[in-house]
């Protein structure tokens, strides 16, 4: 079965609102943005207004203005000066974490996509490899931390290994499903046209599996960010995860929260990057109506 909607008859725009009152076309893009921002703005405002002496819950949760000021120092302060060890180190830590995610995620794609397609395509490969993946998959990546530390030590590759592993499972499994769900007649058509096995894999199976592969990439990238934070908290001495844990240890909760927000923003931006890529690679799926 193919999940691709091919005929113009079947294509319908997605409903704007799934439940209740439809906002409909009366709201423009700007209106939608305002509607989407109302809740977070309200929550931050309540958090600010409910804080006494600059924090909530007896000092545990610093107020938004203190978080903001802490971030300004963290981002733009003079590095290596004074009593604040985080001053001016934000960008470096963002880059450290991002590069680790990029490396681990890139390796996960290099291994996961071809392997997933081979498992989905060949029964022999599936029999040989799939059980191993299914046995290892339930082990959470956090459980791999000690082994990773023992093997790689407090070095970059410990974190990269964890990201690779975390991103690998969703990528390999979605690639596999993508390769399995192909319309049999596409393969038959390619064989009838004289395509070799490699040509079929490259020119039919891979493009047909792409929608599913992108689903795997997005999930995998999310897990990659989880993995980088966890491993930096334990296994390396830099990055957003390291600062997060270190700031907690010394009671700098405003830095902890600024760090959390930074991770969220980085996760969001990197996801948008994948979506952009997906949009470009799958542009053939959006052209569904008969335009002539």
């Amino acid at each position: 079965m193919s999940t691709v909607v091919l005929s113009a008859e079947k294509s319908q725009p997605a409903p704007r609102a799934s439940l209740g009152v439809s906002l409909g076309p009366t709201l423009g893009r700007a209106g939608q943005l305002v509607a989407g921002l109302a809740l977070p703005v309200a929550l931050v405002a309540i958090w600010q207004l409910a804080s006494t002496d600059g924090s909530l819950f007896g000092g545990a949760l610093p107020s938004p203005d203190r978080v903001w000021r802490a971030w300004l120092v963290w981002a733009f302060g003079n590095p290596g000066m004074g009593l604040n060890p985080y001053s001016g180190t934000w960008w470096d830590n963002v880059v450290f974490s991002s590069i680790r995610v990029a490396k681990g995620f890139g390796l996960a794609i290099l291994v996961g996509v071809p392997l997933g397609i081979m498992i989905g395509w060949s029964r022999a490969v599936a029999l040989a490899v799939d059980p191993t993946i299914q046995i290892l998959r339930p082990i959470p990546i956090t459980a791999w931390l000690p082994i990773s530390l023992a093997i790689f030590g407090i070095r970059d590759f410990g974190a990269i290994f964890l990201i690779l592993l975390g991103a690998f499972y969703p990528i390999v499994i979605n690639s596999m499903h993508g390769a399995r769900g192909i319309d049999r007649n596409w393969i038959r058509a390619a064989m009838m046209m004289g395509a070799s096995r490699t040509a079929i894999l490259r020119r039919v199976v891979l493009p047909a599996a792409l929608p599913s592969i992108f689903t795997g990439l997005r999930i995998g990238l999310g897990i990659g960010w989880t993995a980088v934070i966890v491993s930096e908290m334990v296994a390396v001495k830099s990055g957003l995860g390291y600062v997060l844990w270190d700031a907690y240890y010394v009671g700098r909760m405003e830095v902890v929260i600024a760090d959390m927000v930074s991770i969220g923003v980085m996760g969001f931006l990197s996801d948008r990057l994948i979506v952009l890529l997906e949009h470009w690679a799958l542009r053939w799926r959006r052209l569904q109506s008969f335009s002539a």
Binding site: N185, A190, M192
Partner: protein, 253 residues
């Protein structure tokens, strides 16, 4: 060129526990350049027969020859036109039509003029850069036909290619196929469950019966060529139709 020969071909599906005999001792001879229609109800094994010849599935018994040699695997000498066209949805019309020659490693200079000619022949000149999803069902099937013809096949295997189209489009496509065949004279094996379509297009109609699938009748259609969809009301056409319908009733279709 393009001659097809089945002798005592069997095809059985399923394991030893519940075997389903799709084809039983099928004998069939199709001469080069002949247009033969396989007519029968769904499940009679007519598509199975076509799949064996295409090389998509191996026969369980008997001997199957194409162009004097055994059929081992699918190949561009036996171009298939699928029921729902089976175009690659991420490729444009042009890319779909040139896919075959390209993966075969032919040089552009050799196949591009022919691809352009075939696209013109099926009336899609203005749609080279369209994606399959932007085309109607009939237009998609035109691409399917152009994609098959561009490989200069010895035989064209068509598996209910117009079965999913509306009546009007179907007539247009039948006329198109008649015109194309008149020009190229390729061997055609055409699977259908539509009596009118079988008589209109073919030189011979082979009637099949189900469970197990076998060819029960071989009816030469002597209507003069070139034909057109106007022949659907020709008295001779009606006579052939009456014969086939009576025959199908007699064998319990």
């Amino acid at each position: 060129m393009g001659a097809i020969s089945f002798s005592a071909v069997d095809k059985t599906y399923g394991g030893r526990a519940a075997p389903v005999r799709a084809l039983a001792a099928v004998d069939l001879e199709v001469g080069d350049g002949e247009f033969v229609a396989l007519l029968g109800p769904s499940g009679c094994g007519k598509s199975t027969l076509l799949n064996l010849l295409a090389g998509f599935e191996p026969p369980s018994g008997g001997r199957l020859l194409f162009d004097g040699g055994p059929v081992a695997k699918p190949g561009p000498d036996r171009a298939v036109v699928f029921q729902e066209a089976a175009l690659l949805p991420w490729l444009t019309v042009w890319q779909n039509v040139t896919f075959g020659p390209q993966v075969q490693g032919l040089s552009r200079g050799d196949y591009e003029p022919r691809a352009a000619e075939m696209i013109r022949l099926v009336g899609l000149d203005g749609f080279r850069d369209a994606l399959p999803a932007q085309l109607s069902g009939g237009m998609r099937q035109r691409v399917g036909i152009a994609r098959a013809l561009v490989m200069d096949p010895k035989a064209l295997l068509m598996d209910e290619p117009f079965g999913a189209l509306d009546a009007q489009t179907r007539l247009t496509m039948q006329q198109l196929l008649l015109d194309v065949w008149q020009r190229l004279r390729t061997t055609v094996l055409f699977v259908t469950h539509d009596i009118d379509e079988a008589i209109l297009l073919a030189d011979r109609v082979l009637v099949m019966s189900a469970r197990p699938g076998r060819i029960t009748r071989d009816i030469p259609i002597t209507l003069r060529r070139p034909r057109s969809v106007d022949d659907l009301t020709n008295p001779d056409f009606i006579r052939f139709k009456a014969t086939i319908m009576a025959d199908m009733r007699a064998t319990g279709h």
